[in-house]
C-alpha cells in the first residue's frame, strides 16, 4: 500500500511524540537503575540528568548493592508479608466494591443516591486527620500488630466503588432486564453477566489496589510493633541516617520492591486495554 506524503508526516510526528514521551517517562526508572548500581561516592559526584551522558551511569556495575539488600535477613520475610497483605486487601476491595458498585448503579432502593454521596465524602478527608481516630479503633479492637490491622481498614473503598459504578452505569439495563425475566437473581446477574463485561476495569482495580497496598508506609509503621507483619516498604525506608541516605542501597531496594508491581501490571494490562468486541453490548 502506498502511503501518501501527508499521511507519512503524521506517522513520523506520531512516532516522534511517542518516543519523546517515552524518554521523559523512562527517566526516573533509568535513574533508579543507574544509581542502584553505583557506589555511594558515584551517586554524589558522578551525576547527570541526561541518560545519554556517561556520567549518568556507574563506572563499574556494583551488583554488590543488590547482594547487600537481599542478604538482609528480613528481606524475604518482608516480601512475603507484603504479598499476603496486598492479596488479602485486594481480594477484599474487589469483593466489596463490585457488590456495592452494582448495588449503587443497577438496583433501586430508597436513599441509594444519598448513601452514595455520603460515601464519596470520605474521599475528601486528608489522611493526616484519619491517622489517630483509626489507630484508636484498631487498638480498641486489639488488632495492633495483627494482619487484620493492615488489611481490613482498606477493604472498603469509596474510590473503587465510584470507579466501578461508572462502568456499570454504561451497561444497558436491557441486558439485566432480560436475565431478570428468566428468573435470575441479582447475584447471578452480577457474576454471570456483569463481571465479564467489566473485566477490564476490574483488572485496573486489581492493579491500582495492589500498588496502593504494596507502597503504603505510614499506616504499617504505626500499627506494627514488631517484624511479624512489617511490609517491604518499611525495609526500603531503612536506608536513611542522620548524615545522609545510602542512595545506592535505597535505589536497589526500591528496584526489588518495584519488581512485583511491574509483573502485576504486565499481567493486568493486556486485560485492561483489550477493547470490547462483544456484540452483547449496544452503543
Amino acid at each position: 500500500m502506498e502511503i501518501k506524503p501527508k499521511r507519512k508526516l503524521t506517522e513520523v510526528l506520531f512516532l516522534a511524540a511517542l518516543l519523546l514521551g517515552a524518554f521523559v517517562a523512562l527517566m526516573p526508572f533509568l535513574y533508579m537503575v543507574a544509581n542502584s548500581l553505583k557506589t555511594y561516592g558515584e551517586t554524589v559526584t558522578r551525576v547527570s540528568s541526561n541518560p545519554f551522558s556517561p556520567r549518568f551511569w556507574p563506572r563499574k556495575l556494583q551488583w554488590n548493592n543488590y547482594l547487600t539488600i537481599i542478604r538482609d535477613d528480613n528481606m524475604g520475610h518482608y516480601f512475603s508479608n507484603s504479598l499476603i497483605i496486598a492479596l488479602i486487601t485486594v481480594s477484599g476491595i474487589i469483593a466489596t466494591s463490585t457488590l456495592a458498585a452494582y448495588g449503587f448503579s443497577k438496583m433501586r432502593f430508597p436513599g441509594r443516591d444519598r448513601i452514595f454521596t455520603v460515601l464519596l465524602v470520605t474521599l475528601m478527608i486528608p489522611e493526616t486527620v484519619l491517622l489517630i481516630p483509626n489507630f484508636l479503633i484498631i487498638s480498641s479492637l486489639r488488632w495492633v500488630d495483627r494482619l487484620a490491622a493492615l488489611t481490613v481498614p482498606f477493604m472498603g473503598s469509596a474510590f473503587f466503588i465510584f470507579f466501578l459504578r461508572q462502568f456499570f452505569k454504561q451497561i444497558p439495563d436491557a441486558l439485566m432486564e432480560a436475565a431478570k425475566i428468566d428468573g435470575a437473581s441479582h447475584l447471578t446477574i452480577l457474576v454471570r453477566i456483569m463481571v465479564p463485561l467489566i473485566r477490564a476495569p476490574l483488572f485496573t482495580v486489581f492493579f491500582l489496589a495492589f500498588n496502593g497496598s504494596w507502597n503504603a508506609l505510614q499506616w504499617p509503621m504505626v500499627v506494627t510493633q514488631s517484624d511479624r507483619w512489617r511490609p517491604i516498604s518499611v525495609a526500603v525506608a531503612k536506608y536513611v541516617t542522620e548524615a545522609g541516605p545510602e542512595t545506592q542501597l535505597r535505589m536497589a531496594s526500591a528496584m526489588v520492591a518495584l519488581a512485583p508491581i511491574l509483573v502485576i501490571f504486565l499481567i493486568a494490562q493486556k486485560q485492561i486495554t483489550e477493547a470490547i468486541t462483544n456484540t452483547g453490548m449496544k452503543g
Partner: protein, 441 residues
C-alpha cells in the same frame, strides 16, 4: 437542617465519650526509686537505628540482657526514622500504648511531654542508689546531658543522650594549600579572602556552598557569640547584631559570587566531591559520606574539617543529637529502663557505639578506649579533638522549633535574593514569637 446539626453534635459527643477514657496515672518525678526492685522487668525500646547502627545497638542490648544482675530484658524495636517514630508515638500516646524507651530530638520530647508522657529523669539521675556517681559526673560531658533540660517544662530532664554530633566546616585541603594558605581561616574576614581566592583561581569554582538551613544559621550566629533566645529562654531574639552580621556577611559573599546556594539535596557534597567548592558545612557524622564522595570522584584530593571561622575566643559549635526518653509506666519499669540507659552510656558500650556510627560519645573516657580507632580514623580523631576544645550550644528544644527552622531558611533565602535585612529579621522575630506563643504548653 436542624435535625442534621443535632445529629452531628450528638455523634460528635458520643465519639468523644468513647475515647475519652484512660487518664495518665504515671509516677511523678518526685517519687523515690530507693526501695523499688527492677528485677525481671521487660522494657521495649523504640529506636531509629537501622543497618550498621542497628547491629551495634542490638549488640549493646544483648550484652545488657545477658549480663545485668536484675534479669531485666530490653526488647529493641526499629520504629522507623525520627519522623516515623514521632507519628508512632503520637498515636501511641493517644491510645495509651507507649513503649518504655523512645529515641527522639529534644523538641519531639517536648511535644510528648504536653500530655505528661515522659519521666523527668532528674529523679533518676540524682537518685543516690541508682543515679550517676561522682565519677560518672566527672566523666560525662555535662553540656551534652544538659541539652535535655527543658525550660518550657520547668527544667524537667526529658531525655538522656547516647551520642552527639556538631556542625563542622569541611574544606578541600589540597586546593587550599595550592592557593598558598597553610591552615583553614579562623576569622570571618579570612574566610571571605579564601572564598575570593578559590572563586578566582580557575574555571567554574567558588568558595562556599551556602547552606541556608537553620542549623547553619544557628552555627554562624553562635560563632559570633550570639544566641537566638533571650537570657531566660522565653522569647526568640532574631534581630541581634550577631544575626545581622551573619546575614550581611553572607549576602556580600553571595552577591560577589564567592558563595552559591546549594542547588539540590546533597548538591554541596556533589560540588565538594568534584573539587568545585572550597568549603561546605555539614554534620560531623557525615565524615564517612564525604570520604566516599571524594574517593568516588574522578580526581580524589586531600580534605579535612574544622570548627569553622569564629569571632569568639574559643571555637563555638552547634551541638545536636537525639536523646532517649523514658515513658511513664510503673516505677519498676521506669527504673529498669534507666538502668539500661546507664549501660548504653557506659564507657564500653559507648566505644562500640562510636565505632559503628561515627557519632561523638557522651563520656570523655571513651577517648582512651577508642585509641586504635582514632589512629585508623584521623579525621574523626581530629574533629573529636576540636569538639573537646570548643563550646557547644544547642538549638532551642521547644515545640514549634521545626516550623521556625523553615521560617529562618526562607528568610535567609529571601535576604540573599535581595530582601532588606533589618526588616526581614524584625518580621521573623515577630513570627517566631507568635509560633512560640501559640505552640507553648
Amino acid at each position: 437542617m436542624k435535625k442534621a446539626i443535632m445529629l452531628l453534635s450528638i455523634l460528635a459527643l458520643l465519639t468523644g465519650f468513647l475515647f475519652a477514657g484512660g487518664g495518665n496515672e504515671g509516677a511523678s518525678s518526685a517519687k523515690a526509686y530507693d526501695t523499688v526492685d527492677p528485677s525481671g522487668q521487660t522494657v521495649v525500646f523504640w529506636h531509629a537505628s537501622s543497618k550498621l547502627h542497628g547491629e551495634a545497638l542490638e549488640k549493646i542490648i544483648n550484652e545488657f540482657n545477658s549480663t545485668n544482675e536484675w534479669g531485666i530484658t530490653v526488647v529493641p524495636e526499629f520504629a522507623g526514622y525520627y519522623s516515623d517514630i514521632y507519628n508512632k508515638m503520637t498515636t501511641a500516646i493517644a491510645g495509651n500504648s507507649t513503649p518504655d524507651l523512645v529515641v527522639g530530638y529534644q523538641n519531639s520530647a517536648a511535644s510528648f511531654q504536653l500530655s505528661d508522657t515522659l519521666v523527668d529523669l532528674n529523679g533518676l539521675v540524682n537518685n543516690k542508689a541508682w543515679g550517676l556517681s561522682k565519677e560518672d559526673r566527672d566523666d560525662f560531658i555535662m553540656d551534652f546531658l544538659d541539652q535535655d533540660v527543658n525550660a518550657q517544662f520547668g527544667g524537667q530532664r526529658l531525655g538522656f543522650p547516647p551520642n552527639r554530633s556538631v556542625q563542622m566546616t569541611y574544606y578541600n585541603q589540597t586546593w587550599l594549600e595550592k592557593l598558598g594558605f597553610e591552615a583553614p581561616p579562623q576569622s570571618w574576614d579570612d574566610f571571605y579572602a579564601v572564598c575570593k581566592a578559590a572563586t578566582e583561581s580557575a574555571g567554574d569554582t567558588y568558595g562556599y556552598a551556602i547552606s541556608t538551613d537553620a542549623s547553619n544559621i544557628f552555627a554562624m550566629v553562635v560563632s559570633r557569640g550570639g544566641s537566638v533566645l533571650n537570657k531566660d529562654q522565653t522569647l526568640y531574639t532574631l534581630n541581634t547584631p550577631e544575626m545581622k552580621d551573619t546575614m550581611t556577611f553572607m549576602k556580600k559573599l553571595y552577591d560577589d559570587g564567592y558563595g552559591r546556594k546549594i542547588a539540590e539535596k546533597y548538591g554541596d557534597q556533589t560540588d565538594f566531591g568534584v573539587g568545585k567548592v572550597m568549603f561546605t558545612t555539614s554534620s560531623s557524622a557525615g565524615i564517612p559520606y564525604y570520604d566516599k564522595a571524594v574517593m568516588g570522584s574522578e580526581k580524589p584530593f586531600e580534605w579535612s574539617l574544622y570548627a569553622g571561622p569564629h569571632s569568639t575566643k574559643k571555637p563555638t559549635l552547634n551541638l545536636y543529637g537525639p536523646s532517649v526518653s523514658i515513658c511513664k509506666s510503673t516505677p519498676e519499669k521506669e527504673l529498669a529502663a534507666w538502668l539500661f540507659l546507664k549501660h548504653y552510656t557506659n564507657t564500653a558500650s559507648q566505644t562500640e557505639w562510636v565505632k559503628a556510627t561515627n557519632y561523638y560519645p557522651v563520656r570523655k573516657s571513651v577517648k582512651d578506649s577508642l585509641s586504635s580507632y582514632l589512629v585508623e580514623n584521623p579525621k574523626y580523631a581530629e574533629s573529636f579533638e576540636v569538639l573537646l576544645n570548643s563550646d557547644g550550644y544547642s538549638e532551642p528544644p521547644f515545640i514549634g522549633w521545626d516550623e521556625i527552622r523553615d521560617m529562618l531558611d526562607a528568610g535567609f533565602n529571601a535576604i540573599l535574593d535581595g530582601a532588606a535585612i533589618e526588616k526581614t529579621l524584625i518580621d521573623m522575630e515577630m513570627e517566631a514569637n507568635d509560633i512560640m506563643a501559640s505552640s507553648a504548653p
